[in-house]
């Protein structure tokens, strides 16, 4: 009984524990952060697409897009990454003047302290990956249709969002052993859940 404590946690209280854990994992713990993570990126893209219709002035569009991109960069780098997936990266200058980049990932504690919810993680990575790709598409379209005056804005979009994407990917795959242990953990839990579910079905 002592050795199978872990399994007891899963099997005896399987029904409602699993449901509560599933609901906990799909609950969004930081709704404001999630909203703003997507809001700035998507509104920058929307303003870029609709600028011709919204206003005659090119400058208003450009300034708006630049402000939205900057707010988005700051929010994603400093706030939403830390809250939603527990990653952060920054540039550190030592006392002797050399600068190096630091990438950190919050360790997932086995006791289930502050695990990130799956829904938040999905929202985060979805927003992080699709938006730079859209800006790259805009860059090519601006280049090939010779709308050079938009190229400055689009380049800024690509650079800022690409930088966040690169930083967070490096955070994620930075410590390789962390990644493999997380993967093994996850696969182990999945396998356990599968076997318990089939046992449950067989029993009932």
């Amino acid at each position: 009984m002592d050795s199978s404590d872990d399994i007891e946690d899963v099997s005896l209280f399987d029904a409602d524990d699993d449901v509560s854990r599933r609901s906990k994992k799909s609950k969004i713990r930081h709704p404001v952060a999630s909203f703003f993570h997507l809001f700035f990126r998507v509104s920058a893209i929307v303003v870029y697409l609709l600028c011709e219709l919204l206003t005659n002035s090119f400058i208003a569009c450009m300034v708006t897009i630049i402000l939205l991109l900057s707010c988005d960069f700051w929010a994603v780098k400093n706030v939403t990454g830390r809250l939603m997936v527990g990653l952060r990266w920054w540039n550190q200058v030592d006392d002797d003047g050399r600068s190096h980049w630091v990438f950190e990932a919050r360790k997932v504690s086995a006791q289930g302290g502050k695990t990130s919810s799956e829904a938040e993680s999905r929202i985060f990575w979805l927003g992080l990956i699709t938006c730079p790709m859209i800006w790259v598409i805009f860059a090519f379209s601006a280049l090939f249709s010779f709308k050079v005056k938009w190229l400055a804005v689009v380049m800024m979009g690509v650079v800022l969002q690409g930088a966040n994407l690169y930083g967070y990917i490096r955070c994620k795959v930075g410590s390789r052993k962390n990644l493999t242990s997380m993967a093994t953990n996850y696969l182990g839990k999945q396998f356990l859940r599968q076997t318990m579910a089939t046992e449950d079905q067989a029993a009932s």
């Binding site: 005659n56 090119f58 400058i59 450009m62 700051w74 200058v93 003047g97 600068s99 400055a152 804005v153």
Partner: protein, 174 residues
């Protein structure tokens, strides 16, 4: 918040250029962005273009400032400077502040009159601010170079701020 305070501290440092490492240690590009956008906004709508939107001019100023800063940074790095890429961009961007102030003053003076007297006033103001910008940025940047290469680093900075000052001085509203 923390970031806003850091930006404010850097602006104060530019006003009184002392050889402190605070500007260099925690670089950030918010100040340069704000300065660049405000300078570009103030410079638009001033040429004899037939287009009635100041579109290309805004983008021109923006690209000029950032591209110029990048080129100067690359130059100083290729000459063997010990300062990092973003730190140099940060310093160059923040030292555009006196020129932004000069632009503001010029616009106010131009509201009053557009004659020779206003031109002389503008010339003096822009010249003073140009000297201040160049001195402030060289105070920070020239230190990171070996002594026989200081002139090679100072010259592009001089040119960069000279071009911006020229744009400010030759600005005539429609």
């Amino acid at each position: 918040m923390r970031d806003l305070k850091a930006v404010g501290k850097k602006f104060v440092h530019v006003m009184y250029p002392r050889k402190s490492s605070a500007l260099l240690r925690d670089w950030d590009l918010w100040g340069p962005l704000v300065l660049c956008v405000s300078l570009a906004l103030m410079l638009q709508g001033g040429s004899a273009d037939s287009k009635d939107d100041g579109g290309p001019q805004f983008a021109e100023v923006f690209v000029l400032i950032w591209f110029g800063a990048v080129v100067i940074t690359l130059n100083s790095k290729l000459l063997g400077g010990t300062i990092s890429f973003f730190q140099s961009l940060c310093v160059l961007g923040y030292c555009v502040m006196p020129l932004t102030v000069a632009m503001l003053v010029c616009r106010l003076v131009l509201l009053a009159s557009t004659g020779t007297v206003s031109f002389i006033i503008r010339l003096i103001v822009v010249g003073a601010m140009f000297g201040w910008s160049t001195l402030a940025s060289t105070a920070f940047l020239a230190d990171s170079q070996p002594p026989n290469r200081k002139a090679l680093v100072v010259y592009p900075i001089f040119l960069f701020y000279f071009v911006i000052s020229w744009m400010i001085l030759t600005f005539t509203p429609q």
